[in-house]
């Protein structure tokens, strides 16, 4: 695990990968094992139906909430999933360059014959790998839980929703990486990336219920992540590619700024 920067970074985060994976499995199991109770509770859909649209958009859509996919969409892919994945990715993205710089280990790492670009890409790769592990864990939790609870869950829908969640997570992580690599400041990187996530979430939720503001939803990452209700309707290629493009831009900015600046001693 000390062969290169990529593996060393995975080694450093093995504990948090383990805990977040357990958390992801637990989230999947909790939600799926809870679902039959909601499905069988008569009148729950009627109750939702009577709520104003604003509240429905927060709790869950009345038409789909009692279906397995609709329930998971509301309980996993609206808030909890993005939060778990976002927090992990932002922490990893922040630690990558700014973290090393603030703990004064970056000079010594870069005294070895390895380019800044390579260090950055290996660290980004390590974050993306860790996130993939979390994604698999969530998938196992959801699919396993549905089997235990004995209901049918769309595997393609679930897989696509997790892919979309993964993409949202790494985009937030890469934004944190970009700010950290550009400034060397961990707090700033984590703060801005978290703000992009939280504000994006709030904007997407509230802009979607105000018809007049609906066209403005495109400014939030959450719009590209799940405005299509991916677990029900599948990935929207345009949204998917937009997130990929934002992630790529973050990587390009990271490299450009990191290579061009002085390192803090």
């Amino acid at each position: 695990m000390l062969r290169n920067v990529y593996l060393k970074t995975l080694r450093d985060s093995k504990r948090s990968i383990l805990y977040y994976s357990i958390g992801s499995i637990a989230l999947g199991l909790y939600v799926t094992l809870f679902y039959p109770t909601i499905r069988d509770a008569t009148g729950f859909a009627d109750f939702l139906e009577q709520l104003p649209e604003t509240l429905q958009s927060i709790i869950g859509d009345a038409e789909t909430y009692t279906t397995a996919e609709g329930f998971l969409n509301a309980e996993v892919f609206s808030f909890m999933g993005p939060m778990v994945f976002g927090v992990f990715a932002i922490m990893a993205g922040t630690a990558a360059i700014a973290g090393e710089e603030e703990s004064h280990t970056l000079d010594q790492l870069l005294a070895n014959p390895i380019s800044r670009r390579s260090v950055l890409l290996q660290k980004a790769g390590s974050m993306m790998t860790s996130m993939a592990v979390l994604s698999v864990a969530l998938w196992v939790g959801l699919v396993g839980g549905s089997k235990i609870a004995g209901f049918d869950l769309s595997l393609t829908g679930t897989t696509q929703a997790i892919i979309s969640l993964y993409l949202l997570g790494i985009t937030l992580g890469l934004i944190a990486l970009a700010i950290g690599a550009s400034t060397g400041r961990k707090g700033l990187a984590g703060g801005i990336a978290a703000a992009v996530g939280v504000v994006g979430f709030l904007l997407d939720t509230f802009l979607s219920v105000v018809d007049a503001l609906d066209p403005a939803r495109f400014i939030s990452l959450f719009y590209y992540f799940n405005s299509n209700d991916v677990i029900i309707n599948g990935i929207n290629p345009v949204h998917f590619l937009t997130l990929v493009a934002i992630a790529l831009i973050a990587v390009i900015i990271s490299i450009w700024r990191f290579e061009g600046r002085d390192l803090a001693s």
């Binding site: 000390l2 010594q108 870069l110 005294a111 014959p113 390895i114 600046r261 390192l263």
Partner: protein
């Protein structure tokens, strides 16, 4: 002879703040070069530009014939580096760290093990648990382990006890014999005197002079204090080569000597000598002595006065 490091008007500003100014320097292959200067003079700034951690504001540097900006990775493959305060991954053991860095360099750990034994370093301990001295030893081992052509060492003996300093000096000597080039920064004259061939003096970001160590020593002041068995007079020492700033009070005689103390000793031998003490000149004295002997302007008096005032502390 080719230059191991060559800088042309190397300048670095941190915003408005001066780092180094127009440093032009050639360090030959196979020599041990000392960059001497007080803290904040710009020694580390130079080193960090050689390794491309920071970029020059203007001017350029080549290291082993390679451009410091364009060929940085290639440079770092051939250079061993030890910073002034060796900070690294605290959670790794010393062995794990050396293994990691060896992997990044595509090396094995054979030489690292030999060096660790030599410096009596326990490789099983975590870096975070090591004393400053032991941490510095890890730093030395990782700098030397890949058998690099050029060693850049920033205040290398900080935190090492005298015995290990000697061991380090021995290692430097071996490296020199093997044809390696060493660039060492220090704020301690006695250290560069022992190990360096040439010394550059840097002050407030500017390179003041580059001299052979022998020349520097000749120009250096030594503070000498002699206790005589009988009463002496300042007149007895008038005109003695190199002697200045004579002060006599009863049996006690003090003065500054530039270069060799031979003439003073011969003059003193005419009397009964009870005790002789001499102080290592401090860095500021060396600088001022240099300035004094080459300048001879209005500031020289001031320089001598300052040298006098601080020589006891040296």
């Amino acid at each position: 002879m080719a230059a191991a490091i060559s800088t042309t008007d190397l300048t670095k500003f941190y915003g408005e703040h001066r780092g180094v100014l127009d440093v032009s320097l050639d360090i030959n292959e196979g020599e041990v070069f000392g960059l001497l200067g007080p803290n904040g003079a710009g020694k580390t700034t130079c080193i960090r530009m050689f390794l491309d951690f920071i970029h020059p504001t203007s001017g350029s540097a080549t290291v082993l014939g390679l451009d410091s900006r364009k060929n940085s990775v290639e440079i770092r493959r051939k250079v061993g580096y030890l910073p002034g305060d060796f900070v690294t991954y605290e959670k790794l053991t010393a062995h794990e760290l050396l293994e990691y860095f060896a992997n990044l360099r595509g090396d094995n750990l054979i030489r690292a093990r030999t060096l660790s034994d030599r410096f009596n370093l326990d490789l099983t301990r975590k870096i975070g648990e090591l004393s400053r001295g032991n941490r510095q030893k890890v730093g030395l081992v990782q700098a030397f382990m890949s058998d690099p052509e050029l060693l850049i060492l920033d205040e290398p003996t900080t935190g090492l006890d005298p015995l290990l300093q000697q061991e380090f000096h021995a290692l430097v000597l071996e490296e020199t014999k093997a044809g390696k080039t060493l660039f060492i920064s220090s704020h301690v004259l006695s250290e560069v005197e022992i190990i360096c061939d040439r010394v550059g003096i840097i002050r407030e970001g500017s390179l003041v002079t580059v001299e052979e160590v022998d020349v520097l020593r000749e120009r250096a002041l030594t503070r000498v204090e002699i206790e005589f068995g009988d009463t002496v007079s300042a007149i007895d020492f008038e005109g003695v080569e190199g002697v200045t700033d004579v002060e006599v009070s009863d049996h006690l005689f003090t003065c500054n000597v530039t270069g060799s103390v031979d003439s003073l000793i011969k003059a003193a031998a005419k009397h009964t000598v009870i005790k002789i003490q001499s102080g290592q000149p401090g860095l500021e004295e060396v600088f001022l002595a240099y300035y004094n002997s080459s300048g001879g302007n209005g500031e020289s008096e001031n320089a001598t006065a300052k040298a006098k005032g601080t020589s006891d502390a040296a």
